[in-house]
Amino acid sequence: MEQLSHRDMIDLFLDGQLPAEARSVFFAALAASEELQAEFHRAVVIHAAAHRHAQTLQPPPALTASILAAATPQVPASRARSGWLHAKALRTIALTAAATVIGFFIGRLSGPLPSTTKLAMQSEHAATGNAVAVQHTTTQAIPTSQNTQTAHTTTAQPKSTSPIALGTPSVDEDIAPLPNDALTAVAVMPLPTPALPVDFSPASPQPMPLPVGHTLEQHSAPLPLPPAVEEPEEEFILSIRQTTPLVLRQQRLLSPLSSSPLNNTLIAAEYRERTVSILAQCGYEQFPIYEVTTTADGTPQYTLRQLLWWVGGGMRVYAPRAEEGLFRTLRPMAGIVLGTSQYGVLGRAEVGLSWEVLPHLSVQCLLEGMVHSHGIGTNWEHAEKLSASIGLAFRF
């Protein structure tokens, strides 16, 4: 064994590496030398300080989670993500289409009459009670002497529009009556051709026969634009949207989701007065969250969670409705939401468009930014994402 100095023995003793036979020598030297005692104390202080400091050097939870995520079994990214996106897109399209159809029929049954019908009704009331007058108001270019068609060209069209066919009084066989419509009587009323002494020749000196294959509509006078829909004073809006992450700082932590239809779904209830609304919103979204648990021996364990549910409240602002043009039904909107999840707090900002396709139905497309913070011990971790969402809103 090589010769050890007393100073070497200090370190070996502290490391538990000093041989048993050298310990008595070391203790004797330590007892005899104050200088050695002072050095021993310094060594102990440095040793203890270093060990204490080492215990405070813990890898951050986010780093731990990302490292552990590297060992999780993963579906091949391209295939899984592609399939997930396709399924999600199909689900969104199907949902939108189904709700549009339902909303259409609801609107059809309970909503106002089509604007062209309104016009015809107005024309009817303006007339003197003669069905011919009604016919005249909407089919100006049609010679009346041979025409037995009705004025309501949008709800009843002749099978043939050739001059020959126009002359045959068979309209009542071709046009199905519309129940519950005041125009029905007008639409199906056959005009007694022999009893029509009305002569319009001064007003239309040269009757123009229609080319074969042309319809009455193509030769009708242009109709005036329907009146703008008035902005309701207040509305209650219930919406459901599906969201897809576009940019996520912690994207590498995410795994492909299961095909649950509830994943990445947002539901909002909104009360709007003209252009400002307040809303309550909840969501079930994919978001990387580190759940911290402590084992029996006090060791923190970090578990990466993929989904969180949250609830929140906020407000939205809508652009005023335009009287005409594209923005009569397409309304820009923006909003903010503050909320809480089972792990922490969050803030959302959203901007997008609400397309009011029907009186009681809108399609919402939004771009959303979200920041989620949650506490881990004395640290606060946060994650952010930018996502796009599309969905339907029912307005009452």
Binding site: R7, D11, L12, R42, I46, A50, I67
Partner: protein
């Protein structure tokens, strides 16, 4: 049959890494055992916290990608330490080491002023040591590595490591002696 990973040896855990059904849990257990020590080493070797975290992450990712069912793992902490050391050295070479020297000297707010002071002084003294002594001392003091593990990481005999450690820590005490002379030496808690 369920595997108790906590009771498994390093060799068994390394073996499990080659099996998809055990890979995740075995890796978690290895990380739980040695993550903090490797992290402390990276923090002390590299001056910049961000660099240290990058090196730490790279270490485990490299380790995971290097897993081979044919390899017989005899000293897992030394193997991890070797990867960490190589990674840190690569990162060290890429950075200007003195540019961000002061970052870790601020200590932690949850420690006392005195503890921060001694830690900062130790840190500064460490960087006055020869490179091999410094590394060996950091591995031993902060990463809690044994002589054998440090020797394996360096690829040198244990006696050489022991010599480095003794010389390094003695030099450390010499550097810090003025600090201790200014205040009475107290026993650590």
């Amino acid at each position: 049959m369920a595997v108790n990973y906590t009771l498994s040896s390093d060799r068994e855990l390394y073996h499990y890494l080659s099996m998809p059904e055990h890979r995740e849990r075995a890796f978690e257990e290895i990380y739980r055992r040695y993550g903090q020590r490797i992290y402390a080493y990276c923090r002390k070797i590299l001056f910049n916290t961000q660099d240290a975290e990058d090196a730490f992450q790279s270490t485990f990712l490299k380790f995971l990608s290097s897993v081979s069912p044919d390899r017989e793992m005899t000293n897992l902490p030394a193997y991890l330490l070797t990867i960490a050391r190589t990674t840190c050295m690569d990162m060290f070479a890429q950075r200007h080491e003195h540019a961000e020297l002061v970052e870790d000297f601020h200590g932690r707010p949850d420690q006392t002023v005195e503890a921060n002071e001694i830690n900062e002084l130790i840190e500064m003294a460490l960087h006055l040591l020869p490179a091999q002594w410094r590394e060996a001392v950091i591995m031993q003091l902060y990463a809690n590595m044994s002589y054998e593990e440090i020797a394996s990481a360096f690829g040198v005999p244990v006696t050489t490591v022991r010599n480095w450690l003794c010389r390094g820590r003695q030099r450390l005490r010499e550097i810090l002696q003025p600090y201790f002379e200014e205040r009475p030496v107290e026993h650590p808690e």
